[in-house]
């Protein structure tokens, strides 16, 4: 029966296309690219003129009681209009999402749920339609794929519907997985950014130092042409560079000597503690972040070998650490201390130029700093503003003071 054989061959072609797309979807980590892929491939495999993708979104109710409702929001690859519909029987997409069942129509315009308003605005003329729910592996509908106007034929077939359902399942999984990975990244990033709060809680004399150093370092890195991966590494190392302060005893941290203008001992102790701790976690870090401990713990090394904790010199100090060293000194000089007024940005730059001339810090980093100097006040305000508004630290100083005041001594 050649007719059946043709059908089987056609089915194989479509399944092959679907298999290929399912693998591309499983591989793609970027939500935006996944959405683009779904829209493109749905039109291609089903031979449709246009595909609209709707995603279920949680929305906070406008009366502000914190309750969320679910709506469907459209995503169209070519930009265009954003359509928002309720999850109910009043629209076709809403019907599909709320019933978790597909809808197939030879002429959508005859359906009372079809809203001709969108065709009027977009200039598109809808005829046939197939719409399926995107079911995730846990049985929830997270969106709707709707393909419009079958190119060669009166409408979409039950085979089309079946293929689209399978594509929708792969699409839903890819989307859930990309969101999950994003959530893991967000967890890590918020941790590494947030942990600096603990450093400030221990030594609030230098509050905000960690974030300012991170902000300056990233800006310097950009000016020096580091790629996004290096910038990420640099930011994380900057955020961890003073972590050893958490473990410095009170006798060193609150020593009167700091009032005499020397933080030398504190710096030596915390730098070696930072190094010791970060060495321990190296094994847990993913490959792109393996250098983080070296960078974070080398920010007190000097090019001429006179620094600590290792006394490294020249090329032994990674570029990221040399950038970190310059931002660290720059922020220390331009910050207020109980025993001295802050240095001006220009004055601090002058000091660093002399240090570079003496062969202690990297002169190319110092030159990059002079290039970004006009942007420094903005970066500083960004961090200090967050400190004062309380979005980062809020009343940390106050918490800390309370603990000290409660202390009978």
């Amino acid at each position: 029966m050649p007719r059946e054989e043709d059908k089987a061959k056609e089915r194989i072609l479509r399944l092959e296309a679907l298999t290929e797309v399912s693998l591309s979807l499983a591989w793609e980590r970027d939500v935006g690219k996944i959405l683009g892929l779904i829209v493109r491939e749905a039109s291609r495999i089903l031979d449709g003129e246009r595909t609209t993708l709707y995603l279920v979104q949680e929305k906070e109710a406008s009366n502000g009681d914190g309750k969320t409702t679910k709506t469907l929001v459209s995503y169209i690859a070519e930009g265009g209009l954003t359509i928002e519909v309720a999850l109910d029987q009043r629209s076709i997409a809403g019907t599909v999402a709320s019933s978790c069942r597909p809808v197939r129509l030879e002429d959508a315009r005859e359906d009372p749920r079809f809203d001709p308003g969108w065709d009027a605005i977009s200039g598109f003329r809808t005829r046939s339609m197939v719409a399926v729910p995107m079911m995730n592996p846990w049985g929830e509908c997270i969106g709707v794929i709707q393909v419009l106007n079958k190119k060669n034929g009166p409408g979409f077939t039950s085979e089309d519907e079946e293929i689209l359902l399978s594509l929708a399942a792969h699409a839903a999984l890819a989307l859930e997985n990309a969101r999950y990975l994003e959530r893991q990244r967000q967890t890590f990033q918020s941790l590494i950014r947030g942990q600096a709060v603990a450093i400030d809680a221990r030594d609030h004399l230098t509050a905000g130092h960690t974030w300012r150093v991170a902000a300056y370092s990233v800006e310097l890195g950009k000016a020096m042409g580091l790629d996004p991966r290096q910038l990420e590494l640099l930011e994380y190392a900057a955020l961890l560079h003073d972590q050893g302060k958490l473990g410095v005893p009170d006798s060193v941290l609150f020593k009167c000597g700091r009032l005499e203008g020397t933080e030398e001992e504190l710096m030596r102790v915390h730098a070696s503690r930072t190094k010791e701790i970060l060495e321990e976690i190296r094994g847990l870090l993913p490959l792109p972040l393996k250098k983080m401990p070296d960078i974070a713990s080398s920010h007190h090394e000097k090019l001429d070998g006179s620094g600590y904790p290792k006394g490294l010199g020249g090329d032994q100090i990674p570029l990221e650490a040399r950038i970190l060293a310059v931002s660290d000194i720059f922020d220390a000089l331009t910050s207020r201390r109980p025993y001295r007024e802050p240095e001006s940005d220009e004055g601090a730059l002058e000091f660093l130029r002399k240090e570079a001339a003496r062969g202690r810090v990297d002169s190319s980093v110092v030159e990059a700093l002079s290039g970004i100097l006009p942007r420094i006040p903005g970066l500083r305000e960004g961090v200090n503003g967050r400190l004062e508004s309380g979005s980062i630290m809020g009343s940390l100083g106050e918490i800390w003071e309370t603990a000290r005041e409660n202390d009978p001594h």
């Binding site: 029966m1 059946e4 054989e5 089987a8 089915r11 194989i12 399944l15 679907l18 298999t19 399912s22 693998l23 591309s24 499983a26 591989w27 980590r29 592996p137 792969h170 999984l173 999950y180 959530r183 893991q184 967000q186 967890t187 890590f188 918020s190 941790l191 947030g194 942990q195 709060v197 603990a198 809680a201 221990r202 961890l240 972590q243 050893g244 958490l246 473990g247 005893p249 009170d250 006798s251 503690r273 970060l278 321990e280 976690i281 847990l284 870090l285 993913p286 972040l289 980062i392 630290m393 809020g394 940390l396 918490i399 800390w400 603990a403 000290r404 409660n406 202390d407 009978p408 001594h409």
Partner: protein
């Protein structure tokens, strides 16, 4: 027609396998499933999955899959040849092939006859490991169709493994930073014995025993590690005092639990760490409503994570008392909790700890050994 039908079946199977493997988020589960499916679909007596350890330049088998871990240089054996060349290798008689490494057979007691080895290639061209199937069940050697089928399966398995590896990498990076914070904080407080890392392991074991999901267990484990962060703002002379605190000192010390919570709140964590301050703030709250901070939630209103941290913390504190009390052994410390069940501790949590005593003790031993290594 029959050939066409079997082709359709093959493609449908691949689509199903993609959904099944990619919906698993733990690497162990992906590997277990893939391992079983490879042997089943290929009608082979056994399958193997070797992953590439790029740092060490080795291929290794996953412990959970059958026997112990097997490790060898990434160029070695037929698996190594497949990885290096990036091409599949079909061997009809393994012992007749000079590249074959009989060490694995002698370790597992299996006798390999014919085998297919296919590199696990992901779409960016990276090679992340090798899959193998050994001995066709019908006794015939593997053929070309088998190679093609295994290649198709391997493309799915590779993407699923790579994805799970990414999740694991991110989670381990989070583990790393939490560990570094905890270690830094404990440099001031610990007396040779790691506290928070062990409490964290106890929390994980108890959370699992209580049947909580992976993500919930992870959150409690992380909260358990960070539960004493507030000690940062307790002065050394109170924190490190070797004898009972005075009435003036006690509230300063006790403020640490709430302080931990407030610090964590200020850190503004997102993702899976969002809201863990609630688990931490109440780790010294008693099930019956006592403890500190005074007032606040009681019984089931106390977050389960906080109730689990409380029990984990108590076991440790009875073994290594701070202010001159007599130290207890592990078993004694665990049993001593029976007294406070329902009043101080959530009885369900204590029962879960009793149930998993062997695992808890093993974690304790491991933690002490790690500390020994650090000191050495």
């Amino acid at each position: 027609m029959e050939k066409l039908a079997s082709k359709v079946q093959g493609l449908e199977l691949l689509l199903k396998l993609t959904l099944e493997l990619c919906s698993e988020r733990s690497l162990e589960k992906v590997l277990e499933k893939a391992w079983a499916e490879l042997a089943r679909v290929m009608k082979a007596e056994r399958s193997s999955i070797f992953l590439l350890d790029e740092e060490k330049g080795e291929l290794f088998s996953f412990v959970a899959l059958g026997a112990q871990e097997i490790r060898f240089p990434k160029e070695k054996g037929i698996a190594g040849a497949a990885l290096t060349s990036g091409e599949p290798i079909l061997v009809a008689d393994a012992y007749g092939d000079p590249r074959f490494n009989p060490a694995i057979d002698s370790a597992t007691g299996f006798r390999t006859r014919s085998m297919v080895s296919v590199p696990l290639k992901v779409p960016n061209g990276e090679r992340i490991g090798v899959v193998q199937v050994l001995n066709r069940k019908d006794g015939r050697p593997f053929g070309k169709e088998d190679v093609a089928l295994l290649q198709a399966l391997a493309s799915v398995v590779g993407v699923a493994i790579h994805t799970a590896q990414l999740y694991r990498e991110q989670q381990r990076a989070t583990d790393a930073v939490i560990h570094s914070i905890v270690r830094a904080v404990e440099m001031r407080t610990e007396r040779g014995i790691p506290h928070a890392p062990l409490v964290s392991s106890f929390c994980e074991i108890i959370g699992r025993a209580m049947g909580l999901g992976e993500e919930e267990v992870r959150r409690i484990r992380w909260a358990g590690a960070l539960h004493d962060l507030g000690k940062l703002s307790v002065p050394d002379r109170i924190l490190l005092k070797g004898e009972p605190l005075t009435d003036q000192e006690r509230p300063v010390y006790e403020s640490h639990a709430l302080m931990s919570g407030r610090l964590l709140e200020k850190m503004n964590f997102q993702g899976e760490l969002a809201g863990i301050e609630d688990l931490v703030s109440f780790h010294h709250k008693h099930y019956g409503g006592g403890g500190f901070p005074p007032g606040g939630p009681q019984r089931e209103e106390i977050p389960l994570g906080a109730r689990i941290i409380a029990v984990s913390d108590a076991i440790w504190c009875r073994m290594y008392p701070r202010w001159g009390e007599k130290p207890m052994g592990f078993q004694e410390a665990l049993h001593s909790l029976a007294e406070g069940m329902g009043v101080v501790w959530d009885p369900k949590v204590v029962e879960a700890a009793f149930q998993r005593r062997a695992e808890l003790e093993e974690a304790l031993g491991k933690s002490l050994a790690d500390q020994g290594k650090r000191e050495a």
